[in-house]
């Protein structure tokens, strides 16, 4: 990752890759909300950073001025095109539905939604539970573990591989590619390695499934017709890559942050052990407080929003994590209240791009925490060991040593 020049003025020169923004963005948002609720920067590309719930949700709903054609928070290259030199189907549509506006967004999203309906997701519970138990078998007998790399990181990638119908043996490679794309996008070599690796892999998989279809998402997309015609290969490839990219880093970050919270708040840990019925509400509260995902939008024409002169081609960072800490929208937002009753959090976004995998993500987070609490006795951070966090597009712990 390239080094960032330290930020002095967050209102006019913010940088989401500044180490302070990665370890403690909360105090920065608090300052901005009271002084300059929509910050600006010219670093990388002219971008705006709203910090209030009202602004983030209003911009998310205004799809005419704020397009999803560019959703990367850390743009790749000068003109913000992904610097991927790729021989394969045409990816001119990016990764729909996330990088699309209607009408492409509407029908590609409809293809995906049934795979992640709450009914389908119920069916993935047993395999997720077995997976968590198997991982815990590997270290629960000991006295310490890396809850991020040894547990959280291992879960979502395998669930997604199962749904896509690809081999879970590839899990570590998938994780590496997804991190290259989302966390190390600032490094052109890693970004290229991740994007090319992942796309070439799916090109092969699609070719194979065309002749050997199975009961999986990839095969089904190949068999679908839209307006009487098969779907363009580039679009299928984009959808497949998106499911992997969107379903892995995000969910693993949420699981890791939640375990970090419980390790540092023994009273909450005890409460969840004593009141397991609280888990569903607690999951929403942990998603609110440690929302992992920030997305970007592209300004489609010059527009003034909240007094800010946004120019065509600027980016706006959809700061869902900051919206979820806005005191105008949540009472005592910096306090985690596991039983918070009024919680309109937008960890999964707001408006038409609401996370298509939200039912799956919630289930994985809930099952991962239940199984962890079931198997691991009282735990805390391991003194003297360093914790590392990733930030930018997706925030969460990457190394999280705990003792029990």
């Amino acid at each position: 990752m390239t080094d960032t020049v330290p930020v002095i003025d967050w209102a006019s020169d913010f940088d989401v890759l500044d180490p302070r923004y990665i370890t403690d963005p909360f105090s920065i948002w608090d300052d901005l909300r009271t002084t300059c609720p929509i910050a600006h920067t010219d670093r990388r590309i002219s971008s705006w950073l709203p910090t209030r719930y009202e602004d983030v949700t209003a911009i998310a709903h205004d799809i005419a001025h704020f397009s999803s054609l560019r959703v990367a928070v850390i743009p790749g290259g000068e003109d913000d095109e992904p610097p991927v030199d790729f021989e394969g189907p045409n990816l001119e549509y990016g990764l729909p539905p996330i990088s699309a506006d209607p009408p492409l967004h509407t029908w590609t999203r409809r293809l995906l939604l049934p795979w992640f309906s709450h009914r389908r997701v119920d069916g993935y519970v047993p395999m997720t539970r077995d997976l968590c138990r198997g991982l815990l078998d590997g270290f629960a007998e000991g006295a310490h573990a890396d809850a991020a790399a040894g547990y959280a990181q291992q879960i979502p990638v395998r669930v997604i591989a199962h749904i896509l119908g690809v081999s879970t043996d590839m899990s570590d490679t998938f994780t590496m590619w997804v991190r290259d794309i989302l966390e190390f996008a600032d490094d052109p070599e890693r970004r290229q390695r991740g994007a090319e690796g992942l796309l070439m892999y799916f090109v092969e998989q699609l070719e194979y499934r065309r002749h050997n279809p199975g009961p999986d998402l990839l095969s089904e997309l190949l068999g679908e017709e839209v307006d009487g015609k098969p779907i363009d290969d580039g679009i299928i490839l984009g959808i497949a890559a998106l499911v992997l990219i969107a379903g892995v880093d995000t969910t693993w970050s949420a699981i890791g942050s939640s375990i970090w919270h419980l390790a540092t708040h023994p009273e909450d840990q005890q409460r969840l052990r004593d009141e397991p019925g609280l888990m569903a509400l607690a999951v929403e509260e942990l998603l609110r407080a440690y929302s992992p995902v920030t997305m970007a939008r592209l300004v489609t024409e010059d527009v003034e929003y909240g007094g800010c002169p946004m120019k065509e081609g600027d980016k706006v960072l959809m700061n869902f994590p900051a919206a979820n800490r806005d005191p105008e929208a949540f009472e005592e937002p910096d306090v985690v209240r596991l039983d918070r009753a009024h919680n309109r959090h937008v960890a999964f976004g707001s408006g038409i791009h609401r996370c298509a995998g939200s039912n799956l993500a919630r289930m994985e987070l809930q099952v991962a925490l239940e199984e962890w609490l079931h198997r691991i006795p009282a735990f805390s951070l391991e003194q003297g060991k360093e914790i590392t966090w990733a930030g930018g597009q997706v925030r969460g712990p990457r190394i999280l040593p705990v003792v029990f």
């Binding site: 309906s117 709450h118 009914r119 929403e284 919680n343 309109r344 707001s350 939200s358 919630r362």
Partner: protein, 64 residues
Amino acid sequence: MKIRVDPDKCQGHARCYGLAPELFDVDDYGQASVIVDEVPTELEDKARLAVANCPEYAIEILSE
């Protein structure tokens, strides 16, 4: 109590279903609907909880 989901506002966050599956369902495409004509008295608090957690302000109380 009578409640309804505004189909134009609902984006399928499924918070309503998660909190009160006795009152709501969400279909395969993320569209929520109310599955009772009248909210039973003992579930009125749950209905209010769903209203207060819908991120899209899509659930309306038609009559208390």
